[in-house]
Amino acid sequence: MVQWNMRQVMYEAQRALASPVRNPRMATVIGRLLGLAFVLCFGTGLYSHFLQEPLPGMHFATRPELLYQFTQGTHIIAGIACFPLLLAKLFIVFPDLFQQPPVKSFLNFLERASIALFVGASLVQITIGLLNTYQWYPWPFPFRETHFALGWVLIGSLALHIGIKLPIIARVWRKEADDGSGDDDHLTDAVARDRTATPEAVRLFGSSRPTGVTGRLLAWIDATPDLRADATAERAPSGLDTGSASASRDDTADAEDAARTAHTRLSRRGFLTTVGVSVGTVVVLTTGQTVAPLDAVNAFAPRKKGVGQQGVPVNRTSKQADVAADALAAGWVLTVAHAGVERSFSRSELLAMPQTEVDLPIACVEGWSQLARWRGVRLSDLADLVSADAAASFRLTSLEKKGAYRQTTMGSEYVRDQLTLVALELNGETLDLEHGYPARMIAPGRPGVLQTKWLSRIEAMDV
């Protein structure tokens, strides 16, 4: 008896949640977009990961100069777009939560477990990703490692999910190919089925109408008899004479059918429009930190172009890195080393060398980027001074006392690039302390965290 009641509750929950937009086609349409956003996030995330932790033998493109700005900007934009898309997808499939019986078979259990994992990982992934751009970490685990591992979990769950649902997806696609239109298809969905008693409903309730609490609730929602004719007339395509008192029973039924179809179509269009406007809104109002033309409507991005010392935002301050004393010390030198040969350069000695000016963006893993004009010594010139091999990678060390990026490795493709500088000036002024005074790296197409600030040592590594 208890089981039957549970069954009824679950069934009624599904009935109450029935909506014209909760159907397989809509799940496929939104799922396609969400899947695309996930794949974009994963691909760009993987690229960013390997730039920071290359596998042995990996080399990267140094052109176009805006490459990393583009890939990481895409990562963040697609991630932001996931908020409305994921919520829309979950809204569509929400009645599945009340599947009855909750577990039908071992396979069904695995499927439901994988969906729980998928949903949990997706929600956590976009949440911690967003909060990371705010530099707010209210969780008890490390961000970078977790975000990377969950990325694999997410993309694995996605492939698994598409695999499991492939029959439904194929059915929807076949249907779309058949009648060539998306919006007007008549895939069975809740509203359509509402009118024909399903065997289950008849068995449970004797009719297709929901009863009990749900039935009374739905009756209350829909009960406005004196206004019904108006509402129906308005929703039906124009030309239908629904108000006529002399209309036969058939005419009324036809009119109700037409009204229902019109209502269904309207609901779906409204839903898709809402999702589209939501994606547009969250993207447009936050993308100005990456895409210059949208700077004017940058209302909610965590960064603003041009805001920061010398017009460039800062990721890690000199205070956070605890470098001020060492960086401003009179005895600072940059040491360039190779195979036991060490040469040290003061800032004025570096300034006395041939200077190069380049326009390169600082592009952060957090998605913002800022184009700036840098001036300094070509890294390849310094490498030649210590006769480093052309294929040698360099180890860069900062004055920072701790931090994951205190010491990093730069591949030879960047070391030998003619745009890669040990920068001494930024936007026509002496490099600000916050931007890495006395000297910092700037190279094309690298994440900001690898554009080492407050340089202290550059060392060629064995080839």
């Binding site: 729980a116 769950s157 909610f300």
Partner: protein
């Protein structure tokens, strides 16, 4: 066992692979295999790079995210929908959809902006992070949503009246 099937109910059984052609069946097997491999690799990476003591925290966050969505956000959306649906018989269906859409757009933006406001009030120790007057922007945003919604609704209402006459 018969099943209460609704639009969303698409289980492995219900969707069975019997109707799939050979190409799709192969695709399905490849996808499921790749998916399981991705999951396994993700689990390995997680346990390899995150200290074991930190893992329960991740599980807790994932569970809490599901509970928050299924137990709080979804019911909230459902009851807002009911109220609008009830009101819907007094107002034109299109206007209801516009109002509903506006609330959704505003709420989704709020999901992104409210944490931003909290982070800003906590302070970041870096003046170039969260430098804007987000509170003002947020108020302007909601005002704009209200104005646009009112304008569009009025336009639809006026058009509906004209058509009825």
């Amino acid at each position: 066992m018969s099943t209460a099937r609704t639009a969303g109910n698409r289980s492995v059984e219900a969707s069975g692979s019997g109707e799939l052609g050979p190409a799709l069946r192969v695709t399905r097997i490849v996808l499921i295999t790749l998916g399981l491999a991705g999951l396994a690799w993700g689990a390995y990476v997680l346990f390899d790079s995150v200290k074991p003591a930190r893992i329960p925290g991740i599980a807790l966050w994932m569970g809490a995210a599901i509970v928050l969505h299924d137990g709080v956000i979804s019911p909230l959306v459902f009851f807002c929908g009911i109220l609008l649906r009830r009101a819907g018989h007094r107002i034109s269906g299109t206007v209801i959809l516009v109002v509903q859409g506006a609330i959704v757009v505003g709420s989704v933006m709020s999901l992104i902006v409210v944490p931003l406001l909290i982070a800003q009030s906590r302070g970041t120790g870096n003046p170039t992070v969260l430098p804007l007057d987000y509170g003002v922007n947020f108020a302007v945003f909601w005002a704009a949503v209200a104005v646009v919604t009112a304008a569009v609704s009025f336009g639809l209402y006026a058009r509906g009246r004209r058509r009825l006459r």
